[in-house]
Amino acid sequence: MKNNMMKYALIAAIATVFFIACKKDEVITPTPVEQELITTLRLTVTNNEGFNKTFIYKVENGFGSTTQGIVTKDDIVLASDKQYDVEVQLLNEKKTPSEDITEEVKAESNDHLFLFQSVPAAGSGSITFNEGNKDGNGNAFNQKIKFKAGGAGTGAVTITLKHEPTDKAAATPDAAGGETDVEAVFNVKLQ
């Protein structure tokens, strides 16, 4: 019996050593990476009268942070009753240099759709959207589009990027289905 106890104590001792020896130092958290982060939606607006401006909508931090960081919301200031060519670009400015995500989205244009909504939909302060570019299948993509400014006034434009929409012909985010990757709301001043 004494022998048994000795054996037991020995095994316990070995197990304890094993137990403690397994400590490693790899627990320090690596810097988390917000995957496929988009921080910025940039509109490049031009027309044939020499107008050339960019408007930024930016939320610095992604979902893995307790703070939203710096938020930039430009007002879209345009001349009333004019037509403009608009190109949408997406950036990840958390990286240095900043990463242009537009090319990736363009390469998968079949799986993406930009949607534009104006409040008010017509009249002063409104913008109407037409001649959006198409994806590889000839369906709507709208990464490049024409803005037609209404009469002088104020309003708002919501630009939504949908991933894997179920209906590419849809005009609203709800009808388009899929997942929203970006939802940017700009105030609009037409003067």
Binding site: I11, P32, Q35, E36, G64, S65
Partner: protein, 778 residues
Amino acid sequence: MNRVLVTIGVWLCIGLHYAGAQDSCNITVECRVVETHNLQPLFAVSVYIDEMKREFETDEDGRFQIANACAGTYHIHFHAAGYEHLVKEVKLEANAILRFSLAHINKELDEVVVADERTKIIIQSKSSMKRADITANSGKTLGDMLQGVNGVSVLSNGATIAKPVIHGLYGNRIIILNNGIRQEDQQWGGEHAPNIDPFLANNITVLKGASGVRYGTDAIGGVVLVEPSAVRTMQGWGGEVNLAGFSNNRMGVASAVVEHGFKYIKGLGVRLQGTFKQGGNYRIPGYWAANTGTEENNYSATVAYKRAHFGAEVFYSHFNTQLGVYRGAHTGNQADLMAAIDSDTPRIHTGFTYSIDRPMQQVQHDLLKLKLNTDNRAGAFSLVYAYQHNYRQEYDVIRSNSDKAQLNLTLNTQTMNLNFDHKAIGDFTGQAGIDGVYQENFMQDGDRLFIPNYRSPGVAVYIIERYRFRKLTLEAGLRYDYRHYEVYNPEGNNQTIVRYDFDYSNASGTIGLRHKVKPNWEWTVTLANAWRAPQANELFSAGLHHGSARIELGDKNLQPEKAYSLNFETAYNVPEKLHVELSLYTQYINDFIYLSPGADVLTIRGYFKSFNYKQTNAWLNGADASVKYNITKPLEAHLKASFLFARDIKQNDWLILMPADRISAGVKYTFNISKTFREVFAGIDGRYILRQWRIPANFDMVDYPRPPADYIVLDAEAGTTIILNGHPVYFSVTVMNALNKQYRDYLDAFRYFINQPGTNVVLRLRVPFNFYGLISKN
């Protein structure tokens, strides 16, 4: 030694002649096991009958009952810590009352088994699933299987991800013990199911109410014990094959176990077990649910060595699953979520497929357990060391063509337990022990943030004593836990790593009283407490929950939850006529952690609702009742009901996401056709789940839509046991949701999007095999 040879010889004969030995199969035998010298009843003696391949366990009065036995000769094995291993040959011809006596070990014997009795000494409100119940539900996940236990409901994500809910509490408020080892897998959310293969289980017991003393921190709501049978160390081969096919998601499940007891190394046994499962998209009435496939590959190996006063066991198991998450549940922002909720039909149309795409989870769980035990005049000692490795990968829906997971989370846990069961001192029995734990949680470089890395050592000591006085048994226990957490949390715009240290410690206690008024009537009262330290996600989470399109924010100042529960349970039994159980419980949880709505947070995808982890005091009251009544001998009717009232005391309001009241009823007709076709049965079951109307006043701010309507679902089953060459082969057909009812359940996370699965026809086959004599031609 000689006795063993003789016994083996007898087995040989029985093995050969067994099939011809039965005529009628309705014999009931009342058995009682006592100590040889003082004739005191022996409690928690495990009893095994070779020919039936069934296990029994004595109650506090030393009693157990063999029901529906066929006439014939049986070999009954008795195992109890500190007692000789007894094998008795018994000839059964009619109903009988038998008494067996075991002698305490006082000299070296050839074979002695010291079983793990830690889980057996318990006065607690409990329900269990025996081997037959498990077989009748084989192929289901552990969570789904436990739904049959009164007082247990399930928190699910569709048909493939299920977590057990005991008296309204789930996740980190309950503990699952897998083969005696506390399961340490990653239970960070409702979509993280326990990583356990139910085919390992021979017996599943649910302990209801706080059980902190025996099982340590977190056992607030209760404990699920998943227990395999003892490894065969008797010479020869044994095992079984289980097959199941499910029509709804065209799922096939196959599981096999092989056991061998060695001839030349006495007391050495080995068991190998493996399970394979594959299912595709499941079908809800009218539609396929996109990307809801499931795949599972599990295996385990056990080597056990049992000698006089010494035993050793090595157990290794590997669990590997891949689970698709319903594609329509993955939304970009609140507007997407609302559109998906308000859509009458699933927004994603799909056909049947076995392939699993993003979003999906892949989880592996490895468990290595080493156990040594020994006993002497003082009592029985056991030392258990376990290492668990849990690796969870989550694949989000992404833009690029990467095959990488966005989360690669590892949780490594080492535990050690040293336990001493002392020999009875007068009328006192009991145990004391030390528990140690060391845990590490880490993510991989390149992951998005989900749970910050941490490490955590802990230690605990406990003592439980039990006193028997005539028909009364009194049990009391104390435990003290200490746990340290060292967390490395990335913070601020630059995600700088900040270290936090937390120390938690607390005492737990339990007092239980059991009164066996008559052999067939007993009642139990338990007063116990348990506590739980806030877990990493409650302290630190700072991010989006993909399924619910909401941001959850942790709070570093959360205090541990402390729970106090009082359970009363009574059981009344008239053999083969009536069985009634009633359980009443009340539980008060101090600093109950819950999610409270906060400010909206702006993101690049628009505004999201945010939720903060907060604390309140909760008070849960409820009742479970069940009645089984044999209208005629073969026709049994059963009725079960569960009620729960869960209050937030500080707000004076109901708690959110608590299981609704439920009632289930059924009838089952069981008869024997012949010696070959036994226990032929056909039955029908209905369960009625009420609408959960006990919801907080601010429900509409927190959740949408309101809890789904009440529903009735019907299941039907039929089956038989066929005796083939002496082996009971089980076959059954079950039809779940027989009427293809469209319904949603409040505790299902997919209730926002799709209905519960439609009709599911399940075929089950179980083929056991057992060879005693093949090796003994000499």
